[in-house]
């Protein structure tokens, strides 16, 4: 009997599937209500802010709203080699006059000046003319404006206005990778000595990679010890691993500052044992070394715990079997034990790498100029330059990067193989 054609009915004659769905509906609603507060919380604190961040990062409505008529008129400007028609001039004049009345003209000037240098001067000139009511609305506005300054007769400037028309822009994203729209609208790289963001991205990846590597090499033996020691000792060791977790991040970073600074404990010790001269103390802080040391220590538990939870499940008899079958201790480890810990390695590395890539406080405090990461740059734009849209753009690029890494990881190892415990 084929199962597709024959529908199974319950004793009441209702199809089994329908009746099953009905029975499960109540449970589903109950389950949903249980998670609803969390879902709401996530939407409010996570999904919504990310959406807002995205809107901010591409938002470019300011000029769009300031020059509504101009952009409408510009739709009819077909020959972009030549100056726009009278209609565009007139609309621009009208928009500008309105802005001048509302004291908004200054903002427009500044914003256009960012698009093309020299705009501020010529808009101010226009503003003075309007204030003195020197512009006669009954005759060609195009001619009158063109007379004001030679730049108004340059089509480049009008094209610059036209470029600001769309309400959305990816300019902030381009800026994040040291590129920009030049005057003819094509994407170009900034000069070589001003490409700071790319350096920061690469450094962030590099530091995250090496921190992951260091954590792995330090965490693997610790996790192994934790999983194999007798309970009495492993509990103590576990507390040692977890202790940093219970200490404030700031306190931990500050302690590294005490240890690593030039007059700090580590340097004092090196001088004491004669490793370095007193006048030649190495700098271990405010550079990459400080960032590496402090971040590895702080992120180590995130490597140890997933590894430990996986190793705990590996029966010690497997290693014994490997040895009794003739494998040297190394072969038994490499062929039997190590492959079984891969899910833990995957989870630990992914966790540490993702945490490291967005790390902020520690590099800010011990990183100095050469040890700061992209997140410090984001914070700088959030707090100092107040360029929130740029900060949002970079934040989203970071988020996308993390998602891409996760995707690649899923392709290579498979997320199902991750074990956190």
């Amino acid at each position: 009997m084929s199962s597709e054609t024959k529908q199974i009915l319950t004793t009441d004659g209702i199809p089994l599937e329908v009746s099953l769905k009905k029975a499960e509906k109540k449970n589903k609603i109950k389950a949903f209500l249980l998670v609803a507060p969390l879902l709401l919380f996530l939407v409010i604190t996570y999904i919504f802010p990310i959406g807002d961040m995205f809107m901010r990062s591409v938002d470019d409505k300011m000029i769009t709203n300031m020059l509504p008529k101009t952009f409408k008129a510009m739709e009819k400007w077909e020959n972009l080699e030549e100056l726009p028609p009278e209609e565009v001039y007139r609309s621009f004049y009208e928009d500008y006059k309105l802005l001048a009345e509302n004291q908004q003209h200054g903002k427009l000037g500044q914003r256009l000046n960012k698009e093309k240098n020299g705009f501020n001067t010529i808009t101010k000139k226009l503003f003075r003319q309007i204030k003195r009511k020197k512009i006669d609305e009954s005759i060609s506005i195009k001619e009158q404006i063109n007379k004001l300054h030679k730049r108004w007769r340059n089509v480049e400037y009008w094209l610059a206005i036209k470029r600001t028309a769309p309400p959305y822009t990816v300019a902030k994203y381009l800026k994040g990778i040291d590129m920009y729209f030049d005057s003819d609208g094509s994407i170009t790289q900034v000069e070589e000595d001003r490409r700071i963001h790319r350096i920061l991205w690469l450094r962030t990846l590099e530091i995250a990679f090496f921190v992951t590597l260091f954590s792995f090499f330090m965490g693997y033996p610790i996790a192994h010890l934790l999983a194999t020691l007798p309970m009495k000792y492993s509990n103590l060791l576990m507390i040692c691993v977890l202790l940093p977790f219970w200490t404030s991040l700031l306190v931990r970073t500050a302690s590294w500052m005490i240890l690593l600074q030039q007059q700090g404990l580590v340097n004092d010790f090196f001088v004491m044992i004669g490793l370095v001269g007193d006048d030649n103390r190495p700098e271990m802080m405010y550079n990459k070394v400080g960032t590496y040391v402090a971040m590895t220590q702080i992120l180590l538990p995130f490597m140890v715990l997933p590894l430990y939870s996986v190793m705990k499940t590996i029966s010690p008899s497997l290693m014994r079997a490997g040895k009794s079958l003739g494998g040297t201790p190394f072969v038994a480890f490499w062929k039997v034990y190590f492959p079984l810990t891969i899910p833990g390695i995957g989870a630990g590395c992914l966790l540490v790498f993702i945490l490291a890539i967005g790390y902020y406080i520690t590099p800010a405090l011990v990183g100095g100029a050469s040890g700061t990461l992209i997140s410090n740059q984001i914070a700088f734009h959030m707090k100092t330059t107040l360029d929130w849209s740029f900060a949002s753009a970079m934040g989203l690029m970071l988020l996308t990067g993390v998602l891409v890494i996760y995707w690649i990881y899923n392709k290579l190892v498979g997320v199902d193989n991750i074990k956190l415990g």
Binding site: S315, S317, R320, L325, G327, P329, L340
Partner: protein, 361 residues
């Protein structure tokens, strides 16, 4: 091929983990080539420790272990060439059945063709051909068990150790696996050292059984002798069922002794008692006591039935006899069955040769 009677030799082996308690005490044990020997004992009796010392995972605190005349105490496990079947099989979960079996061959740098041949042979031995590409998790408990046995045998080790390999299987499977392992042993003639706490398993499979208790071998003999002629009350108690009487020797000659119980006297076979006045525990197998015996027996008593339990192939009868209400009888369920009823009085008889007077408990 002449068999070496001392193929594996434990020579005065002591083992202590903490320096205070000896887990194995002065162990002296010879295992012949091709023999199936079982170490039987309750948990904590030191049998697994002995196995681990032989495998090389534990080192003797004192004494030597010899394999084919060579001292192996200082040889690491991977160089001993001893196959081992673990309690929970210890199959490598990330390898297929083929890879599991090929592992010991690959580490020995055996040629690919040779590996294929040997794996195939080992799998057919446990009738698992066609399972090469399965992962261990896709196999049932019994199949995993067979793979573990095949893996321990595939590299032709001189000795195979088995550490309670059937413990995790259900009763029927366990019994069929017992025979299967026994047949494999018979067909390839490998020396097997088997550890179990299940006495019926030991009796079924072994050539000889070493009963362990308290770190010592209590008795080393073949299954029949172990059951019929236990040398002390621990062995008598541990192997099979047993009726015991505690008493004192009042009269003794060469093959008979008189034991005084609380309010009567019985005749018994003196095994580990020598003189009058000694305390003793008399052990009698339930099936050796008969109801209304037709022939003359030198111990004849009347008891009262306390409980009758039907067991399918036999009926267990608990009697109040000689002041003890724990006397057990096993009555085969034949057609000429007796009417057994609770609180009925019946006559019980047994021969003094079957009542073994052992050391006191």
């Amino acid at each position: 091929m002449s068999k070496n009677p001392e193929f594996v030799k434990f020579d005065k082996v002591d083992k202590s983990y903490d320096g205070k308690v000896l887990v194995v005490k002065d162990l002296q044990l010879d295992i012949a080539e091709g023999e199936f020997i079982t170490m039987l004992g309750p948990s904590g009796s030191g049998k697994t420790t002995c196995l681990m010392m032989l495998a090389g995972f534990e080192t003797p605190t004192h004494g030597e272990i010899l394999l084919d005349g060579n001292i192996i105490s200082n040889i690491p496990p991977h160089k001993r060439g001893i196959g081992m079947v673990f309690q929970n099989y210890a199959l490598f979960p990330h390898m297929t059945v083929y890879e599991n079996l090929a592992f010991p061959l690959r580490v020995r740098k055996v040629e690919k063709d040779e590996i294929d041949k040997k794996v195939d042979k080992a799998l057919s031995m446990v009738s698992l051909n066609g399972f090469e590409t399965r992962m261990p998790a896709q196999l049932s408990g019994g199949q995993q068990q067979r793979v573990a046995v095949a893996r321990a045998l595939v590299f032709d080790p001189a000795v195979v150790l088995m550490d309670e390999p059937l413990g995790a299987l259900d009763k029927n499977l366990r019994e069929s696996m017992q025979y299967e392992i026994k047949h494999i042993h018979e067909s390839i003639g490998v020396t097997v050292v088997y550890v179990t706490h299940d006495q019926s398993e030991a009796l079924t499979m072994s050539n000889r059984i070493a009963v362990f208790n308290d770190g010592k071998v209590q008795q080393l003999s073949n299954p029949a002798e172990l059951y019929e002629k236990p040398v002390n009350s621990f062995v008598a108690e541990f192997i099979g069922e047993n009726n015991t009487f505690n008493g004192e020797i009042v009269d003794i000659d060469k093959d008979k002794c008189k034991v005084k119980l609380a309010n009567s006297e019985i005749l018994a076979n003196p095994i580990s008692v020598k003189s009058k006045g000694e305390k003793t525990t008399v052990s009698l197998r339930p099936e050796r006591a008969l109801i209304n015996p037709s022939e003359k027996m030198d111990n004849m008593f009347t008891g009262k039935i306390e409980e009758v339990i039907y067991h399918g192939d036999h009926t267990r009868v608990r009697l109040n006899l000689l002041g003890s209400s724990e006397f057990i009888l096993k009555v085969p369920n034949s057609t000429s069955n007796l009417e057994l009823k609770v609180s009925q009085d019946i006559n019980i008889g047994w021969n003094s040769i079957d009542a073994r007077a052992l050391d006191p408990k």
